[in-house]
């Protein structure tokens, strides 16, 4: 079964069936699938920019935090912890190149709109999140007032 699933999960199949919540709105019948895995923040243009922000920008912490959350996909706690670790290394006198080469461990999570059947059931990385009124074209929220009316 596991082999079947890994055979099926090609890049093309994934792109056809999984829609990133940052770019897509839910369609009828879709559920919210969460992918969570351990990862390392390794050298690349994103890391270079994050280090520059932390080192030279007076509002760098807030911007770098947004990058870690929205682009890298780190969970809230690790988004802050990794940045804190980087600043502490830099303050301790570690040079930028060493920081860029160093791997900072973190947990990343990504959310996709997909059909229930596409989410792997035997893989601990994947989880289905139940949302209110998932069959609606758009997930709507209502504020109900005590008198029964809604806004």
């Amino acid at each position: 079964m596991e082999q079947e699933m890994s055979k099926e999960m090609t890049q093309a199949w994934f792109e056809e069936n999984f829609f990133d919540v940052r770019k897509h709105k839910p369609k009828k019948g879709q559920v919210l699938a969460q992918f969570r895995a351990a990862a390392a923040f390794v050298d690349g243009w994103v890391k270079e920019n994050v280090v520059t922000l932390l080192k030279d920008n007076m509002a760098g912490a807030e911007s770098a935090h947004k990058v870690m959350r929205n682009m890298v996909g780190a969970v809230e706690e690790d988004a802050v912890k990794v940045l804190l670790e980087i600043t502490e290394d830099l303050m301790a006198g570690v040079d930028v190149d060493t920081v860029l080469q160093k791997e900072y461990k973190m947990i990343v999570e990504y959310f996709y709109w997909t059909t229930r059947e596409c989410v792997p059931t035997d893989d601990p990385h994947w989880q289905i999140i139940t949302v209110v009124e998932p069959d609606d074209e758009q997930v709507k929220s209502k504020i109900l007032l005590p008198d029964g009316s809604s806004s």
Binding site: L53, L54, K55, D56, N57, M58, G60, A61, E62, A64, H65, E76, E77, V80, K81, L83, L84, T87, E88, L90, M91, I143, L144, L145, P146, D147, G148
Partner: protein, 109 residues
């Protein structure tokens, strides 16, 4: 001349009223229920104007982490309240939330 004087007085009165209104808003009781976890944030070093970008960012990140940890702790401590909410209908939930926020729905706080 009289007209000018009157206009000036009118402007001053308007400005005073605006200032009083701004002060009244400032004195208004903060929303303690919703941000109660912020009172539990452990002390973090204060950011100074003379700090370099790196030092400032480090202090800000320490504060962010402390706030997040306090929030997680607060959420754990109050988890039962959230669970209890699901046992009620939506109307009852709205009433409970308003009561928790110190508002009984009558408009009087």
């Amino acid at each position: 001349m009289d007209k000018k004087k009157k206009e000036r007085e009118k402007r001053v009165r308007k400005k005073t009223l605006q200032q009083r209104e701004a002060l009244r808003k400032l004195r208004k009781k903060p929303d303690h229920d919703r941000f109660a976890y912020l009172s539990k944030v452990k002390k973090t070093p204060k950011v100074k104007k003379t700090d370099s970008a790196l030092v400032r960012n480090n202090k800000v990140l320490q504060k962010m982490l402390a706030e997040y940890e306090a929030f997680v702790k607060f959420r754990e401590e109050n988890k039962h309240k959230a669970d209890e909410l699901y046992e009620h209908t939506k109307e009852e939930q709205a009433k409970i939330i308003l009561e928790m926020e110190g508002n009984d729905g009558t408009g009087d706080e």
